[in-house]
């Protein structure tokens, strides 16, 4: 009698152990924090491969862009344990490194054979290094991004519209290559009736609360010759931030806002741009490349109806860097698992799949592939843009610097208070105070 009882007990124990195994695997779980947008959905899809391979479950904490910085910087500053991995904005890197929020990855990269030379230089500088241009790495370039433009290719190719533009401008209607051309095209479309609907020239960023207007206006400023500081004398801004070229660039952005945007676009950022473009309200839209795969798939304005172009030049080339690196949060209790995720994510095959799902890889294995420019209608423009990106300050005080610029730009561009020269002079005053407080001046 005893033998069957023992066997039954052994079988029951075996079943319990077998049932517990998946549960144990699932109990290992990482939380990844990022913004709530299209590429985040692609990452969820991609990360299923990681879970299948490692048995580590992935949980995601996505926050809308307008509260993304507030939410996660508060989390980091309060040493919260919510995020094991974070895809933090490029400008956070200085503060996160100096305040010990991110794990320094140099030793890990060396141990695992992850080479920064395998990633596009602009993304390594923008997303990983602090101090800039030094081999101190706090993140792995995860999501390359920059500002680009979309336009209504179907409108641009309509004979009646082309003829009207030819008559007005004396040249063929084409995606603009300079800011002057952009304004000319935008003013041509402004108020025009197409298919019985009144449309507008261009959508540009104007948001006040977080970073919107800064991410927009810098695209004009860079092209006109704005510099953050004297290249020979760090933090010396006089004559660079408020140079004659910078003033022209800022004046131009305001003129574009005044002449060629839809009414009510006084506090608009990424989502409002997508809405305006998808609803057929505007002819051209400024936005991050990250949204372009989704727009291309849009049934109403995607496919043959949409075209893309890089940020126009004026005196020189330049476009605002977007994108982020992926970092391990120093307060995470699952640091080793988080590092395992980064090791997995850095593999060329995973990076290729990342691009195919809609994420923008920064890996040279993807970007230097001869077939890359033709792999998507916006791929070539993305590659060009990543070669001309410039970023906002990534100092530990970046949030203060950003809010100062938000205020000065919105005061001038949207509220029409003062002149461009005054706005930039006041910006230097604000930034000087910040750098003095930080002991850098």
């Amino acid at each position: 009698m005893r033998t069957p009882v023992t066997l039954i007990c052994a079988a029951a124990c075996g079943l319990t152990v077998m049932a517990a195994q998946p549960a144990m695997a699932q109990s290992k779980q990482l939380t990844l924090c990022w913004a709530a947008w299209d590429p985040a959905n692609a990452l969820v899809e991609l990360s299923k491969d990681f879970t299948a391979k490692s048995g580590i479950g992935m949980k995601f904490e996505f926050v809308p862009w307008t509260s993304y910085a507030d939410r996660f910087l508060n989390e980091l500053n309060s040493k919260g344990k919510l995020c094991d991995l974070i895809i933090g904005d490029s400008q956070w890197i200085g503060g996160a490194a100096e305040n010990g929020h991110y794990v320094k990855l140099n030793d890990f990269f060396q141990r695992e054979g992850i080479r920064m030379e395998d990633f596009m230089p602009a993304t390594v500088t923008g997303y990983s290094e602090w101090p800039k241009n030094t081999p101190n790495y706090w993140a792995l370039p995860a999501m390359g991004d920059a500002i680009g433009w979309t336009y209504r290719k179907d409108w641009f190719s309509r004979p009646d519209i082309k003829a009207a533009f030819q008559q007005k401008a004396g040249r063929e209607l084409a995606p603009p290559k300079t800011w002057d051309e952009l304004k000319e095209v935008a003013s041509f479309f402004q108020g025009r009736e197409i298919d019985g609907r009144k449309v507008y020239g261009a959508y540009i960023y104007t948001e006040r609360g977080s970073e919107g207007i800064t991410m927009g206006v810098t695209n004009a400023l860079y092209a006109f010759g704005f510099k953050y500081e004297d290249p020979k004398k760090p933090y010396s801004m006089q004559g660079f931030v408020n140079s004659a070229d910078a003033v022209k660039g800022l004046e131009f952005y305001k003129q574009l806002y005044d002449c060629c945007t839809a009414p009510g676009m006084t506090n608009a950022y990424m989502q409002e741009g997508l809405d305006a473009f998808k609803s057929g309200q505007v002819a051209m839209q400024m936005n991050f490349f990250a949204f372009f795969p989704g727009l291309y798939k849009d049934p109403n304005v995607g496919g043959d109806k949409i075209g893309f172009f890089v940020n126009p030049m004026q005196k020189e080339r330049g476009t605002q860097l977007g994108g982020q690196g992926i970092s391990v949060v120093a307060y995470s209790e699952r640091r080793d698992d988080a590092l395992q995720y980064i090791k997995w994510f850095a593999q060329p095959d995973v990076q290729k799949k990342w691009w195919s799902l809609g994420g923008y890889s920064c890996h040279k294995a993807v970007l230097n592939d001869p077939g890359f420019p033709a792999s998507a209608p916006f791929a070539a423009d993305f590659l060009t843009s990543m070669g001309m990106v410039k970023d906002f300050w990534a100092e530990p005080s970046y949030a203060t610097l950003l809010l100062d610029m938000q205020k000065r730009m919105h005061d001038y561009v949207i509220a029409g208070q003062g002149t461009a020269q005054q706005a930039l002079d006041l910006l230097i005053r604000d930034w000087t105070k910040v750098f003095k407080d930080d002991g850098k001046l």
Binding site: G209, G264, N267, I414, A415
Partner: protein
């Protein structure tokens, strides 16, 4: 006698139910000590959640502390934060914006609220329904109100713009309530008035209902006309209630944040950046904790001081 004896019985029973150890301890305490025993937990709680943070804020206001850099050395800066705030033109602009918002929204709310209270105070058909309808806006969350008025104010699709366009014959997209420097300060006044007029109406209604009917009857005997009755009876009797409503709304609007933040984010430019938005940006976006503590202290002293003066005036009015 019967009552006294039953109370004694109850006290005896309660005493018998008290555990002997506790009873022995309490028996030796004076009335004053027992009173302290009861109020001490409340006082400790108040000290912990009100007084201590206030003292801590005052202390931080004299330092360069930043909450996002807890490891940075703390430096005593004396009155530097205070002088910096009081000499900053942007801070004064925010204070002016706040003053404009407070004065105009309260003026409109008092006029409309009192007017509505006078109307609602009369008995008419559908009286209950109309009272409920009027009260609806104040039951909504300020965040919800801020968000949906943003949609109502949209120049191309907003209902508000279309209604104004219908009445005035203008193009709906020819004006922007929250995007125009001139109109935006009035847009936040308008929305706050829409939301909080019912609150003032309720308080005024309470005042109107508290007026004894015999006063009006006596006035009628004296052949006083409607205006005279209003001027000599209604207004003086409702005035303390009205002033109370002004006090509540004044304090509330002085620290208004959520509705304005959602409606305009302080824009266009800094046109509607009220003091609380400036404070939030300094404290939780720029992380200038010492500076923002000083700003919070200044705002606290301003509200506290003005409210105290106002309460004294209110007491004077009540005694008249």
């Amino acid at each position: 006698m019967t009552q006294t004896s039953s109370l004694h019985t109850l006290a005896r029973r309660a005493g018998a139910a008290t555990p002997p150890v506790v009873a022995a301890r309490v028996r030796g305490l004076s009335d004053r000590a027992v009173a302290w025993l009861f109020i001490t937990p409340t006082m400790l709680l108040l000290l912990a959640i009100n007084v201590f943070p206030l003292i801590w804020t005052i202390r931080l206001s004299f330092t360069n502390y930043r909450a996002n850099r807890p490891n940075a050395p703390l430096r005593w800066v004396g009155l530097e934060n205070y002088t910096s705030i009081l000499s900053d033109p942007d801070v004064w602009h925010a204070m002016q914006t706040t003053a404009h918002f407070v004065v105009w929204s309260i003026t409109l709310q008092v006029l409309l609220g009192f007017g509505l209270a006078l109307l609602i105070n009369r008995q008419f058909r559908g009286h209950g329904l109309w009272t409920t309808v009027i009260l609806l806006p104040m039951m909504l969350s300020p965040a919800v109100v801020g968000n949906f008025w943003t949609f109502l104010f949209q120049p191309q699709t907003g209902l508000f713009n279309h209604v104004v366009a219908f009445v005035s014959g203008r193009d709906p997209s020819s004006f922007q309530m929250i995007g125009d420097v001139t109109l935006a300060p009035w847009a936040i006044v308008l929305v706050d008035t829409w939301m909080w007029t019912p609150y003032v109406m309720l308080i005024c209604l309470a005042g109107l209902r508290s007026i004894p009917d015999d006063l009006y009857e006596a006035a009628e005997v004296d052949r006083a006309g409607p205006f005279r009755r209003f001027w000599s009876i209604t207004l003086p009797m409702v005035l303390p209630f009205l002033m109370l409503a002004v006090l509540f709304r004044g304090i509330e609007n002085f620290k208004m944040f959520d509705m304005v933040n959602l409606l305009t984010s302080g824009g266009p430019g800094s046109t509607t950046e009220v003091a609380s938005i400036t404070l939030k940006r300094e404290a939780f976006e720029k992380w200038r904790t010492g500076y923002s503590s000083a700003f919070a202290v200044i705002l606290f002293v301003t509200v506290f001081g003005l409210a105290n003066i106002y309460v004294k005036v209110l007491n004077g009015v009540k005694q008249r």
